[in-house]
Homo-oligomer: 138 residues x 2
């Protein structure tokens, strides 16, 4: 383990027209708007080799989530029976890591623009990874 232990470091923040949780779609493919990923200057070197059109996985930290939750009503519909949180994609869970499929539409220095992101304005970014390519292309 490093000296940092289990402490996440935000590497950037989402800049989005969605400012209210109530306006956020539950998953990006249900229709999120374009958004900017604004990286902190000390992490910009890690953005080398990203390209417009790349399909990526964005990891965020859903910092408004409730972390003491182990059972939820799916999609917050109270008429649906409660489920164990690990069988759902609820944001409320012990470690609220958000996973988002994104496609890069522009890159300008520390700012990576993506289409169709459901995360709200100000959401901390913790990682960005390529989708796995077929084995031969890795």
């Amino acid at each position: 383990m490093t000296d940092d232990g289990y402490q996440l470091r935000p590497i950037g923040w989402v800049r989005s027209p969605i400012v209210d949780l109530a306006d956020a779609p539950r998953q990006g493919d249900e229709g999120g708007p374009p958004a900017d990923l604004v990286f902190a200057s000390e992490f910009v070197e890690g953005l080398r080799d990203l390209h417009v059109g790349d399909a990526m996985l964005l990891l965020t930290w859903l910092d408004r989530a409730a972390r003491d939750v182990l059972v939820v009503h799916p999609r917050d519909e109270l008429t649906r029976p409660q489920r164990g949180v690990f069988s759902t994609r609820s944001a409320d869970r012990p470690n609220p890591v958000g996973l988002h499929h994104i496609v890069i539409t522009a890159i300008d220095g520390p700012t990576v623009t993506v289409g169709n992101l459901e995360a709200i304005d100000g959401t901390p970014i913790i990682d960005l990874k390529p989708l796995l390519a077929p084995t031969g292309e890795r």
Copy 2:
């Protein structure tokens, strides 16, 4: 933000025959062995509604990773040119979250057995999520 800020809480640990990083395949589909996910007792209620055969995403914290790395040689092959870390799946990165596609093969109380996991013995587990179903099934 909650009082916990950016602090991850391990919800369990991987129990695997792989005890040495050098023996770990780089991705699960390159041939990891079966492994157990052993959850801490206080999180077991969240495992309700998991079933044998479920395809899930496992999130781990790769606690042996170097976190001060922004460029890497892909797959540690020194003959390949360095790349920005966010265009790679390197474990060495500012927030070393591991993502693993797993399928549940057995459930026994706090222990969920999965096939084909490349994480090494003792790796902390931070989350378990279902793969997204088609929209109508959510």
